[in-house]
Subunit: 480 residues, 2 copies
């Protein structure tokens, strides 16, 4: 058995203080047939006013697309979960609506473990997974578990502003990892850490990255670069937190509108699909220093508030202690209904769903990029077609803006002028500077600013209209 | 309009640091018909694989008891929530399974607000409520919002060990409020705070209390005493956090088995029921210094992971900022299904349910107490019939234990001997010392120890058997 390294040295003061409940020693008698257990404040399931829940869902293989409505027996998966005597593999309501199972329900954990084994290949043995109420909470729990106020953490130079806010309010400080079109540049991060000034405090304890379909840049870190980054983590001894909500929004390569659609290499079979996925950090994690945050939010629905953390068992145990005294566990309805669906779809049906999702996002991404090509002048802008995620970015050369000198050569003034003009024209994309990490040594804004758009949230006709209006605004601003 | 006082001085360093997301300024354009909004990473509801969920629940007025199974149209409430075009008052799945609504969904908040107005009478106007994922999380969020590491908080001398653990791991310290059969003794708490030694740090910032059906003691604070405690809070200027999961497990008065059952004063009508409820702290809160933690866990089911906080709006806003970067919001399935049920039951149907619950718990409590009278010798023990909650306690005089002197007059050794003996006899009740608050100046254990049992978690025949075996163990221990 290959064991993960001991990283208990990374635990925060708060995490070190956590102790299991003294009542745990009594709860081992809970199911003992010889003991009448009068120890726990559990309400009787007889008083749960839900005898059965039923969900109506589309059925694999989703031949008409994942957005085709289920109409009859042939294309409907009926998820009927009973209070008692639930189907094998289901989480009965008597269980899911009761206290307990902080780690998540056994049946759901088993499905997720099977799924993880299909997709990743974790190099050590003592890994596991626990459920959470979504990656925002997983990230909050991660910071509570590994960071003390005043600590530095590494984040991408531009990143998800909510993730920054979680950390900032906990009094953490940021090191911004320089990026290019392929995400974090390993050599530059190595350089920063090699030249770390101890006067700033201890070296960063973790790297937070959205490696696939990054928010906001839309970039994805290629496999080779992930391996280089992992070596940087080993050299400077920090944890890697890979926040991967967009992992299954990986797409087929972009082929321009004038290319022959039929010749696109499309991942169709389960084998092709799995092979086309980028290598995750946890798949190259020989040490057990990667904490993977996974979620159903972009794959099924955000409101299920159901995510999971994959990591070494010893570190997961500290999360469980935290969850016992905070969220307790994810919603029983969410667990029963999601597991009910996955239980009926099976691993293969779930892959069918993910393949369908890939198809949808590929189509939307292609549509968005084609629309940018058509509407946003290339003389002053550039873009990189994303290979994953919900976001595209368009970069602008500020020096070519007519008011560049009048604006005192301030790139943020150009950015704001474009943002305001786009609003006037009836389109909203988010200025890139809004996602800038407030690192102590952040370099000044360069000559290129960017805007983040999404092709995920609107139908194609609206997407076309939005980008067209944005292009009009840019032309007005640049006098083109 | 009567406004709550400004208690922003009570905010923790962490809570003061929280800022709204910069993206908020863009999101005001989200529903603007003139703007194509390409700003947010929201997946299309077309890709949520849930077209409809249906729950089968009992229907008011629950004439055959709340545990009677729904069998046909006459006694079944069918909660059918659609993805789109949901019934009026329902939370559609397109909304509940999407991002957003950190405070909770409008329809559910409206029901809860109506319910709160029926039950409580809050003396100021700018109060509100937000949903949480249950009181354990509400309590964690409360500590993050009002306490800095090293701060003291006041808790009952014996209290819920998980609530202590939440605070302990955040490096908080405890002041144990002395209790008698009616809960916290206001004069004693006043005395402790009046004699507060500033060398210990600043005076406590909040009181955490489970005023009704307290865990573990089963005590409930009478209305007059709540008013006295509120004055102590005003005098020493601290917040009161009332954790009230058992509020609707208030029961009719205990009448001994030999009393005439028929003469019990039973709360049957909605009016009688509401009138019989104890006055909450928030109903006497002229200042806006009470934070009320409410929950469906004991009323519907723990696994819905759905609670709510009632407090002044200005303080709730700080919780919302925390939730945005941690839990986000409660599960959409939980919100759609619980609101779907409440929407169909209506306020009156919900009161019917609560009256039914009161009836069940009254029956169980009476049964448990009658069984104690029968099985546990009164020569060495006493009990106080609880008027609310899930728990009963039996106190023992340790000085009468045959090995008292042999045990070095250590009450904990007597306690442990009874616990172990009860296990041998096949019954488990929890030793009271396990709930003792680890306060710095905690008095030593006195001559009376207690055990906590519950009448909530087992059917009546098991309850009888468990108490009978516990009584056997006690008789063996005491040589009776």
């Amino acid at each position: 058995m290959t064991k993960a390294l001991d990283f208990s040295k990374f635990l925060s003061e708060e995490a070190k203080r956590r102790e299991p409940s003294p009542l745990k020693s009594a709860f081992k008698y809970f199911s003992d047939p010889n003991i009448v257990f009068l120890g726990g404040g559990l309400p009787l399931p007889d008083y749960f006013p839900f005898e059965k829940v039923v969900a109506y869902s589309p059925a694999p293989p989703f031949s008409n697309g994942i957005d085709a409505k289920p109409t009859d027996d042939s294309n409907t998966t009926v998820v009927d979960v009973l209070k008692n005597n639930a189907a094998a593999g289901d989480v009965s309501l008597a269980k899911s609506l009761q206290y307990g199972f902080t780690e998540g329900h056994t049946e759901l954990l088993a499905f997720l473990k099977g799924h993880t084994e299909l997709v990743h290949s974790i190099p050590y043995d003592d890994w596991g997974l626990i459920t959470t109420v979504g990656n925002t909470q997983s990230w909050d729990a991660t910071l509570r578990t590994f960071c003390n106020p005043g600590d530095h953490i590494i984040v991408e130079e531009y990143t998800f502003s909510s993730a920054l806010e979680t950390a900032r309010s906990q009094a953490l400080k940021f090191v911004g990892a320089p990026m290019d079109d392929d995400g974090i540049i390993p050599a530059k991060l190595d350089e920063i850490l090699t030249n770390w000034d101890p006067a700033k405090g201890k070296k960063p304890v973790l790297l937070y990255t959205i490696p696939t379909g990054q928010n906001p840049t839309g970039s994805s870190i290629p496999t080779e670069r992930r391996k280089e980054l992992y070596k940087v983590a080993q050299k400077h001894d920090f944890l890697i937190v890979e926040d991967e909500p967009y992992y299954f929004l990986q797409m087929d390569p972009y082929v321009a509108a004038d290319g022959a659609d039929k010749e696109k290499p499309v991942a169709q079979t389960h084998e092709e699909f799995l092979k086309a996925l980028v290598t995750s950090f946890i798949s190259i994690d020989t040490d057990g220093r990667v904490i993977r945050l996974d979620s159903f939010s972009k794959v099924l629905a955000p409101g299920v508030r159901l995510g999971w953390i994959v990591a070494q068992d010893n570190l997961l145990e500290r999360y469980v202690r935290l969850h016992e005294v905070s969220i307790q566990t994810a919603s029983g309805f969410s667990q029963s209904l999601v597991q009910g669906l996955l239980n009926r779809w099976g691993q293969k049906g779930y892959l069918d769903w993910l393949i369908g999702l890939r198809h949808e996002y590929t189509e939307k991404r292609d549509f968005a990029i084609n629309s940018i090509v058509k509407n946003v002048p290339s003389s002053i802008s550039h873009y990189v077609p994303p290979v994953a995620g919900m976001f595209f970015t368009v970069f602008f050369d500020v020096t070519k803006h007519p008011k560049y000198v009048e604006f005192g050569k301030d790139p943020l003034k150009v950015e704001n002028a474009i943002y305001e003009r786009a609003l006037e024209c009836g389109s909203l994309m988010i200025p890139g500077s809004w996602f800038k990490t407030p690192a102590e040594d952040a370099p000044p804004f360069g000559d290129h600013i960017f805007f983040r758009g999404t092709y995920a949230a609107v139908p194609l006709d609206q997407l076309e209209l939005g980008i067209q209006r944005f292009g009009d605004a840019v032309k007005l601003e640049y006098g083109l």
